[in-house]
Symmetry: C2
Subunit: 320 residues, 2 copies
């Protein structure tokens, strides 16, 4: 007897503060969703996993648990090969130890569980439901608190030898006198092109005294959102910050193209909402730095997924 | 009726001066080989292809042409998807036009022909017969007249959207005041780490007057081989040149690792023969620049193929 086709998967997006869980049908519609806390102490990894399993079972009642094909999880430092999260700085319960999510949850739920990092999940989501539908070679860049990436080659995620491939936020964007990055090294792309990096650039430049009449000078704790809002109002500092950030991104993108010759680079996350303020300098800088064979051939496009749904959709797509 | 198993393939390595052709058995032994000229004029592409086909037929007589499974060709700018060579600066007959090697030769020979660029062929050769046997994720870097690369992910060559992936020689190694590269841009790895780049560094430094007693100062046309021979004799300039070159390579290698998380980077070509003079600074610089998760985990190793055989073996491995 052939097993009946199951019509739903579960997408789980583990963030530093909250974990979003959704039931997704074959068309990519989220038919039910919930949010639970990710905030558990160092010794409470099992407690967290129990609460995720519980939430999944509750949520699945609507469609029937026997209709659930599997669970896809996107998480910071989630490793596809080991099925574990390890050394995740923003998750106390997975900071100094390896937490075997896949094994534990498969045992508990009795259905397949697939784990990968959040940027990889976003890439699969984009390929399955978003701007990269039909593409077999593209790179997903997530510009959030950090800079993440998921690389698709021949229609498949690049995991590399150890499952950690695609750390493009930690390629070196500024070689000499580069800013210190959270990873301990200097000059990483993430130190400039993350939301934190953009805010940092704005603060540094304000301190230089060159932009005394900037709208941003009145703000105590500048965020990348403040920079965007100031840019919309025509603030010179804010616009210069996006030009600088986009120029660094575009240069790195040209190197990424030399690696995997993608059809497109899809940009996702908070900074992507800055629209042409960031896309224009990215494209100009990438084109100026591309090898001739790729000029005018690689698209740089925003994600087509609603940010609130993207994480769940991306994770769920792993489960098919 | 099942077709009888054929026991041989043909490897063809097209270089700027000569084209090497060999018959290779299943164990990777070259059982017959020949060399013909690559030097044909702009309008003699067909003449060149005819001469390659003729040489293959002659060579195959020893084992019987019906024993030939297929032909693998490695060539500068050879494109796997299109089966053509285009815009190859060192091949007059394929410089300003696209030459459809695959289609023409398949038609003429009646067996499958596979084309790729020379560095990709070297990567497949290394995976099939060399230092990367059993590896599913590695990067091949060829340090010759130029700097080429072949990237293996999940046991397969990365071709990208257009077949041109893996131009790591044209990632940017020196951002500001970088040397002009043959591609027209500035600061490419190839402008420093190719044989030509190494000789250029030596000449530039000699001109600076800082190395007046260098053994190299007596040589009119310095080559990378001269630099190596001087280094063996303890020449300070020559040793400094290798340290500088290796340091640039190691930094780029760290970025490459962040992309595809390879098990190893295999180094092939003339400069690799400089042994520890080049491998020591590469490894030190790569380790100093790697993200923590990869420190001490990525091997940098020399090719295990005899240079004279490697090109034929690499190309032939494509044909299986």
């Amino acid at each position: 007897m052939v097993e009946a086709m199951k019509n739903y998967v579960v997408g789980v997006d583990i963030g530093g503060q909250t974990t979003k869980i959704g039931i997704v049908d074959r068309s990519g519609a989220i038919v039910a969703q919930t949010v639970i806390t990710s905030k558990y102490n160092a010794d409470e990894g099992e407690k967290f996993m129990d609460s995720v399993c519980e939430a999944i079972c509750d949520l699945a009642k609507g469609v029937g648990f026997d209709q659930i094909h599997g669970v896809g999880i996107g998480a910071p430092n989630g490793n596809y090969y080991t099925g574990s999260i390890a050394f995740a700085p923003n998750l106390p319960w997975a900071k100094n130890q390896s937490v075997p999510l896949k094994a534990y949850m498969e045992d508990k739920l009795g259905i397949p569980v697939t784990l990968t990092n959040d940027a990889n999940a976003a890439a699969v989501g984009e390929m399955t439901y978003g701007a990269a539908r039909g593409m077999k070679n593209f790179i997903m860049i997530t510009l959030g608190t950090g800079v993440g990436s998921g690389i698709i080659v021949n229609g498949e995620l690049v995991y590399g030898h150890d499952g950690f491939a695609g750390e493009l936020g930690h390629t070196i964007a500024v070689r000499h006198n580069g800013r210190q990055c959270g990873c301990g090294r200097n000059g990483c792309l993430e130190a400039y092109a993350s939301a934190i990096g953009v805010a940092r650039t704005a603060r540094e430049w304000l301190g230089s005294g060159k932009y005394e009449d900037s709208l941003l000078s009145d703000i105590e704790e500048i965020t990348s959102k403040d920079v965007y809002e100031a840019a919309v109002k025509g603030d010179k500092l804010a616009i210069d910050v996006f030009n600088f950030t986009g120029t660094l991104l575009g240069r790195q993108f040209a190197d990424f193209v030399a690696f995997s010759a993608p059809e497109a680079i899809v940009v996702f996350g908070g900074l992507a909402r800055a629209g042409e303020f960031i896309f224009k300098p990215i494209k100009e800088s990438m084109e100026a730095n591309l090898l001739t064979i790729w000029k005018d051939k690689v698209a740089v496009i925003p994600s087509a997924l609603k940010e609130s749904d993207a994480a769940i959709l991306g994770a769920s797509a792993l489960a098919w």
